[in-house]
């Protein structure tokens, strides 16, 4: 008898499970009054360490425009093309690759109501604070600024003029905090 009792959920167990989840969630939740909420103080923020690699040894999609860096017949690195005129050509950020590593990027919310040689008092508000990681390690970071008549090298009649290329390697000192907040007249 029992299997019949459960039969709707046996037929579609996943649906039942999913439906049960929000229901139990709703039952547990109760709204917090403003005063209660104003007393809530979370953790100080987020501490991030990162190692970001962009197409360091070529992309996994092996065709002529997003291919392997060790094959000279194939284009290497990511490509970002932006068209400036309806019938015009494309401004291209090409061959984007390399890796960045950093430790200790922090993200938090801060209230500023003093300091900044008097500006803090006038500002008197909250800002998102991004603590820069002191040093960022660049490994073989490259990109190229170019102009092209077609978005992709595989397009017919493709022509591209590379304007210049940038290569960066080693530790870059980047210290301080970036404060982000709404500005202007809403």
């Amino acid at each position: 008898m029992n299997h019949k009792l459960l039969s709707p959920c046996v037929r579609t167990p996943l649906v039942c499970f999913l439906l049960a989840l929000p229901l139990s969630g709703v039952a547990e939740m109760s709204p917090l009054a403003d005063e209660v909420l104003s007393g809530v103080s979370g953790q100080g923020g987020i501490y991030l360490s990162g190692d970001i690699r962009i197409n360091e040894v070529g992309g996994p999609i092996e065709n002529s425009y997003f291919g392997r860096c060790d094959d000279a017949t194939k284009k290497c690195g990511a490509r970002f093309a932006y068209r400036l005129k309806e019938t015009g050509g494309w401004l291209v950020l090409d061959d984007i690759r390399g890796s960045f590593a950093f430790e200790g990027l922090t993200l938090g919310l801060t209230t500023i109501d003093s300091g900044f040689a008097g500006d803090g008092d006038l500002f008197n508000g909250d800002a998102l604070e991004l603590g820069l990681p002191n040093t960022v390690r660049f490994s073989d970071v490259r990109f190229k600024i170019a102009a092209s008549n077609a978005p992709r090298p595989t397009d017919p009649g493709f022509q591209q003029t590379d304007i210049f290329a940038v290569e960066m390697q080693g530790n870059v000192i980047m210290e301080g905090n970036l404060l982000v907040f709404p500005a202007g007249n809403p």
């Binding site: 102009a147 008549n149 003029t161 390697q169 000192i173």
Partner: protein, 361 residues
């Protein structure tokens, strides 16, 4: 029988769930139904709160050096891909690029600085074009701290300016505060083929770029990206010198004291247009302003006898100080020789077309 009852029970539970789902889906579709595209005129009225940025206690330094004694990887910052007219590769190696506080002694001693003020930050914003002379457009603006009224601002050049002495918002460093004016500099050398030049050093002390901005929008007629660019640079001392590559001997320092550059490319009547042509070359163009039709301006050029609206239009175009570029140098000196002040004032770009050409082809 019991099973059927239980099934009905589940159905009963499911009913409110379905109701919730129906409400949720209904709500969703209601939201979708509300979304409509906005035309240029409507969008141009959008003037939201922009995003403000301040860099607090900030230092930036990057450059190229030899691997250190621990074998740590050398730092490299190189610009390549440029060819000389004879086809040789040009390699620009940036040995040092820094942004730091005033008093860095040409980048030797990096101390922190603030960039932007909390009450006048760097901004990214969509502004109403009607407020800035770009009719019926929403304009994307990236702006440095704006200039302020002379009563509230600081002298843009004076290192020890006091409030009410000028129109710059960024404050110079003083005893208790690191200020919002940065020492910026660049050391680089250029190699053409196998020939590498000496190091070229560029430094700007206590520099302010208040009032600079880039504005971008789309032009309906040309169906093209259009923009305005304004770059202000004020510094009590901008200097250039050349040193041997090992840095042991340097040539005379070219110093430009009380340097004020106000460069304007593109204005509300003549925006800059960006394009790439069919052969993949970049084009930057400031279009010439349309000439008046025959008879609209009197032969003597006076307002009387001319079409008043046309005359006023050209009068505004030629007299508007916002359209003009200026360069002031308080004193120009090379080594210990002074050449006195230099001024270039009121430059108006009437037509400009820059097109890159690939010499390799």
């Amino acid at each position: 029988m019991m099973g059927r009852t239980a099934f009905r029970g589940v159905q009963k539970i499911m009913q409110p769930v379905s109701l919730v789902l129906v409400i949720a889906f209904g709500f969703h579709s209601a939201v979708l139904a509300e979304l409509q595209s906005m035309n240029d005129g409507e969008l141009s009225q959008v003037d939201g709160a922009g995003i403000g940025f301040v860099l607090d206690n900030f230092t930036f330094s990057h450059g190229t050096d030899e691997p250190d004694e621990n074998g740590e990887q050398a730092r490299i910052f190189r610009i390549t891909g440029i060819k000389s007219t004879s086809g040789e590769a040009v390699d620009i190696t940036v040995n040092h690029l820094y942004i730091a506080g005033d008093g860095s002694n040409y980048g030797e001693n990096l101390i922190p600085v603030n960039l932007g003020r909390l009450i006048n930050p760097w901004r990214i914003d969509v502004v109403d074009g009607n407020d800035i002379g770009v009719q019926d457009k929403a304009v994307l603006e990236l702006a440095a701290p704006s200039k302020v009224a002379a009563a509230a601002g600081f002298d843009c050049l004076g290192g020890s300016a006091v409030a009410g002495s000028g129109t710059c918002s960024s404050r110079p460093a003083n005893g208790g505060w690191r200020g919002e004016r940065a020492d910026m500099g660049l050391q680089m050398n250029v190699a053409v083929g196998a020939d590498r030049s000496s190091n070229l050093n560029l430094h700007a002390r206590s520099a302010v770029i208040d009032g600079s901005h880039i504005r971008l929008w789309g032009d309906d007629e040309r169906r093209q990206m259009a923009g305005q660019f304004r770059f202000n640079l004020y510094s009590p001392e901008v200097s250039i010198n050349a040193c041997s590559r090992d840095g042991t001997s340097c040539g005379s320092r070219i110093k430009m004291s009380d340097f004020a550059l106000e460069l304007v490319i593109g204005n509300s009547l003549q925006p800059i247009f960006f394009d790439v042509d069919g052969s993949g070359n970049f084009i930057l163009e400031v279009d010439a302003i349309a000439a008046p039709a025959a008879g609209q301006i009197a032969a003597d050029g006076q307002r009387g006898g001319s079409d008043a609206a046309t005359w006023d239009f050209y009068d505004d175009y030629y007299s508007n100080p916002d359209f003009r570029s200026n360069l002031h140098i308080g004193n120009f000196s090379v080594g210990d020789r002074d050449f006195g002040p230099a001024r270039m004032e009121g430059m108006l770009i009437q037509h400009l077309k820059i097109q890159t050409k690939d010499l390799a082809k």
